[in-house]
């Protein structure tokens, strides 16, 4: 068990910078996720921690020991690969025992360790089978068992769940989180699935184009995203982003889109210095759950829009509204919206919760103003 410290890690393939200045400090026993779209450098980062790829520059330390350029076998890390990396020619037992045999442990010790870990992963009945006789879920369990069987300092997982069906994935999420917390080994998990990261992580690192965008707890990533990319990447359906200008309307600061004005909270606008941004373009972000809809417009629900598409998901209904050229997705519970029209083309009125409006800089993508509702200090009052 150990902490991981990564300083200004860079990996170049020719002129292409796959990983650009990554700095991470992972505490002992933490479950950290590397989240990002494919090709963002998350897997390369993981492979550099494992020693399968050598960094162009930077420093990696595991448990205070500099391992930057050490070969994999001197690092004592356990790893699960995307396609499991199980050996076809060995039985499940042989696969799990492999890392122990490499360390030339005694036969009896190997057997007892393999059996113990097989019980944990509930694969005792398939120990004598070959990998090609197993289901995807079982393969997954064997791969994890092979990682768990060693006393590794750090566990690394490279999209281990991408071959599982949705139902199995849901089960494995809970199980893996439980195992990680029970074993208590520092774990880095690479995924492109924001749901996986949000549900299992202690902290999430969001990466894009080789750069680290944000390193924070799931809640902070969700409620206080550092950039527009993070805001839209996390959350399903994704955050609505509208192009707007900050203007003064009837003495109040509002965000004016092409077709309607979004009223902003006056205190919040003042705290974020929006007065200095009058007449500059911004991008307004609102999560679907922070838009309320009514049948008829009233003092609060001023934005009149046409229902473009209605998507029931069971407990919740998604209304995709169209106002001029702007599309907005809303999400509300089925009971709340039971009386609303579900007919496409019907007219509805919407209200953006002023407590949950984000502003992003259109040029840099950085967050100008975090939503008022996400302010932790205010919540405590």
């Amino acid at each position: 068990m150990a902490d991981i410290e990564i300083n200004s890690l860079i990996k170049q393939f020719g002129a292409f910078k796959a990983v650009d200045d990554v700095n991470i400090t992972v505490n002992d026993g933490e479950f950290v996720f590397l989240l990002g779209p494919s090709g963002c450098g998350k897997t390369t980062t993981l492979r550099m921690i494992a020693g399968l790829e050598m960094p162009s520059s930077g420093r990696i330390a595991i448990g205070g020991r500099n391992v930057t350029f050490l070969r994999p076998r001197y690092r004592n890390v356990g790893m699960v690969f995307q396609d499991y990396g199980l050996y076809r020619h060995l039985t499940v037992f042989g696969n799990i025992a492999y890392p122990l045999e490499v360390r030339s442990l005694g036969r009896a010790e190997i057997t007892s360790k393999v059996e113990a870990v097989a019980r944990t992963m509930q694969i005792t009945e398939v120990l004598q089978r070959k990998p090609d006789q197993l289901s995807a879920g079982q393969l997954q369990r064997v791969a994890i068992a092979r990682m768990l069987v060693r006393d590794a300092d750090v566990f690394l997982m490279d999209e281990p769940m991408s071959h599982l069906d949705a139902q199995l994935r849901g089960q494995m999420r809970a199980e893996l989180r439980h195992i990680q917390k029970t074993v208590g080994v520092t774990t880095i998990f690479v995924t492109h699935d924001q749901l996986e990261a949000m549900t299992m992580a202690d902290r999430i690192i969001v990466m894009k184009d080789g750069e680290m965008l944000q390193f924070a707890t799931p809640r902070e990533i969700f409620e206080r995203p550092a950039t527009e990319f993070v805001a839209t990447f996390v959350g399903e359906p994704q955050m609505n982003i509208l192009d707007a200008r900050i203007i003064r309307l009837e003495g109040r600061i509002v965000a004016m889109t092409e077709h309607f004005a979004i009223p902003l909270d006056a205190d919040w606008a003042e705290r974020n210095g929006l007065a200095s941004r009058i007449d500059t373009p911004v991008r307004v972000g609102v999560r679907p759950e922070h838009i309320a809809i009514r049948e008829k417009p009233d003092a609060d629900h001023r934005i009149v829009a046409e229902l473009y598409s209605f998507e029931p998901t069971g407990a919740e209904n998604l209304y995709v509204l169209r106002c001029g050229s702007v599309m907005v997705t809303t999400r509300s519970s089925t009971t709340e919206t039971a009386h609303l029209s579900k007919e496409e083309g019907s007219s509805l009125a919407a209200r953006f919760d002023p407590n949950w409006i984000y502003l992003f800089d259109p040029a840099t993508g950085r967050t100008i103003a975090q939503a008022a509702g996400s302010d932790v200090s205010r919540e405590e009052i």
Binding site: A50, G51, L52, R71, P72, R73, R75, V77, G78, M79, F81, D83, G85, L86, Y87, R88, H89, Y98, P99, V102, R103, D132, R146, R150, L156
Partner: protein, 285 residues
Amino acid sequence: MKKLTYSMESPAAPLVQRNWWVYVVLILVCLVNFVPYLWVVMTGFMDGASASSATPAWFFTPSLEAFHYLIVEKGIMKNFFNSVIVSLASTFFSVTIGMFCAYALARYDFTGRDDVSFWVLTNRMMPPVAVLIPIFVTFQTAGLLDTLAGLIILYTAMQLPFVVWMLTGYFRDIPRRYEESAMVDGDTWFSAFRKVTLPLMMPSITATSIFVMILSWNEFAFATFLTSTQAKTMPPAIMAYSIGADIRWNVLGAAVVLITAPLILFVLLLQRQLISGLSQGVVRK
């Protein structure tokens, strides 16, 4: 209890394969391939007179005259063992060296990699006989004429391109993950290669070895020119003993039995490996 007789099969899909013409084609192919061989084997067991008679006979009294002549009088078993040594050794060397070349070509991305693999391929484009005289002179200078070592070196060099080409493709089919996972688990690169990649490669390596061995075993042109008494292998020996002023058909037949029998036994024994090796990479799990 009586079994239910209805079946779930659709009537359009008959349970029995009824494409009888497949068998007709197969029988024809087998006839074309096996009748000449059968005839040669039969000739080997005839005596000199019936083998060279103008009217071929399907029924005759078998005689071991030709075998006696070859084995006892001419001592062809010496040539036989020369062939065994040369083909085993050259197969071993070309497959071992070729395996590492193929691994490098399949796994590492280095400048000129494609040029190297193309150059390897071009080695197969030239007819080997074209370099017969230069090689003869080289062997003469190096004192390798009529030595087993000379033939082993030559065959190894001749078979290497083939081995490299076959094995490069097979290595590419084995995901790198296997080695990487073994290395993370604490292995060195070489033991990961030996314990993980090699067992997976075994069927392909066996198939390649069989091909290489057959080619070395049957090689005629170089063996004829580069050996005389000490290191003569089977193919030139057969020609020397059976073809003189006239062709002694029964001796030729007996020699064919001697030279093909080990190969047939060898392939029959390794048939399963050979088939799974050839279909590697074709069948995906």
